[in-house]
């Protein structure tokens, strides 16, 4: 299992390194869309601090979705996906490897960039740390669920929009508990419940989403 897994992750990272501009687009989208909020809502510090966690989370969500449409598309078109399915690894392994590759390229940079925006929005240290931690737990969920959407919409016309419509509702729990954790810190409450639920969501996604993704990939290549 581990050989195919590391092979796919290493290749996806290498491909991302070769196409740096394309790999950086979701991050650029994240930066630009977040910067629009102070302009649109107004520079009132109190308001900005209040909306900060939600804004950062929603923008991270959209940025992750944006980069997912091509997760399996090119592999499907050039026959690589078929060869992956013909390896001795399970569909779960392949889906997990692709999701991990996607997370390292988008989820991780988003998580690292988020505290910067927390500062811009006037979040204090504790709230900022909570925001980063919630994204650290939450962005892998987005990659895993998004991978499922990408596999389900593989080969369809307007797959991009369909993917977002399919997957966004599934990510709502992660959004609520992720943004909610920061709000709880701001209100001086414990974040333990929020993080427990985010962790549970992550575990459930790791166990179930790649299984469904593997099945969807086999159907798509049939």
């Amino acid at each position: 299992m581990s050989r195919v897994f590391t092979t796919i992750v290493a290749r996806d990272l290498r491909l991302a390194a070769r196409r740096r501009v394309e790999a950086l687009l979701p991050i650029a989208f994240f930066l630009v869309s977040i910067s629009l909020f102070p302009l649109g809502v107004g520079p009132e510090p109190q308001t900005l601090r209040q909306i900060a966690p939600g804004v950062v989370w929603v923008c991270a969500l959209l940025a992750a979705m944006l980069s997912l449409t091509q997760l399996y598309g090119t592999d499907h078109a050039d026959g690589s996906l078929e060869q992956m399915l013909l390896s001795d690894a399970s569909g779960w392994t392949i889906a997990m490897a692709k999701a991990l590759g996607h997370w390292i390229v988008t989820g991780l940079p988003l998580t690292l960039a988020a505290p910067l925006f927390g500062l811009l929005f006037g979040l204090d240290g504790r709230a900022n740390a909570t925001l980063a931690l919630s994204l650290l737990l939450g962005t892998p969920i987005l990659s895993l669920l998004g991978g499922l959407g990408a596999a389900l919409t593989l080969g369809l016309r307007s797959a991009g929009v369909l993917l977002i419509l399919l997957i966004l509702p599934l990510t709502i729990p992660a959004l609520i508990f992720g943004a909610g954790a920061v709000a709880a810190v701001e209100a001086g409450l414990s974040t333990r419940g929020h993080f427990s639920l985010l962790g549970a969501l992550l575990i459930a996604s790791v166990l179930l989403a790649p299984l469904a993704t593997g099945a969807a990939l086999r159907i798509a290549t049939e």
Binding site: R3, R11, L15, R18, L86, S87, D88, E222
Partner: protein
């Protein structure tokens, strides 16, 4: 020589594409040392049959057995013994020829080390272009990189090749002829499609005509 047991056996196979039945009642037994040439008109279901046999799709009717075991049960074990080369070369444009081959090799249980893959590329005459991006290679050269997988040791016993001669020049075709004959003589099995006549004599290919099996 007594005839050995088939490695891959299909019985009463039928394939459906949408509403159309491509073929039905196909019996096939691939044995060690055989080269089977699958023939048929365009659209007669050659590629569909190869994909069925590779386990990428499921037949509408009929059964498939690998070493006496149903294909579904054989699963990963069967995929380890199989080398399936599709019409698409499965090479990434942004990788070099060597990296693309290493990826495919590792995926299929080879060591995928640089020395071994370089040697395989030398075997298909692309040694000097090994660091060139796949994007810059011609169609024939890409086909050669994909075919370099056949040079990697250890060899999978069953080769299923979809139009392997596609885009190859005379030199490349002769090389592929030698590789296929060598594999069959070493006890391997080859199933391939080709729209050009095969120039194989030892062993002579067995022809399987798919047109005869199309439902009237």
């Amino acid at each position: 020589m007594s005839s050995p047991a088939p490695v891959l056996a299909a019985s009463q196979l039928a394939c459906r594409r949408g509403d159309r039945l491509l073929f039905r009642g196909l019996d096939l037994a691939l044995k060690p040392g055989q080269i089977v040439w699958l023939r048929g008109r365009n659209g007669s279901g050659k590629t569909s049959l190869l994909r069925l046999l590779a386990g990428l799709s499921t037949p509408a009717e009929g059964t498939l057995h690998w070493d006496g075991l149903p294909l579904r049960q054989a699963g990963a074990d069967y995929r380890r013994r199989l080398c399936y080369l599709a019409h698409a070369n499965a090479l990434k444009d942004d990788l070099s020829a060597l990296e693309a081959l290493q990826f495919l090799a590792r995926l299929h249980g080879h060591a995928g080390d640089e020395a071994g893959c370089t040697e395989a590329l030398r075997g298909v005459g692309l040694h000097s272009r090994r660091h060139a991006a796949v994007r810059t290679l011609s169609q024939g050269q890409r086909r050669r990189v994909a075919l370099a997988r056949l040079q990697l040791a250890p060899r999978a016993p069953l080769w299923i090749l979809d139009e392997p001669y596609d885009a190859l020049d005379a030199d490349g075709s002769a090389l592929l002829d030698r590789t296929l004959a060598g594999h069959a003589r070493a006890g391997g099995t080859v199933l391939l499609t080709s729209h050009i006549d095969l120039n194989l004599h030892d062993p002579a290919p067995i022809t399987l005509q798919l047109d005869d099996l199309a439902p009237r």
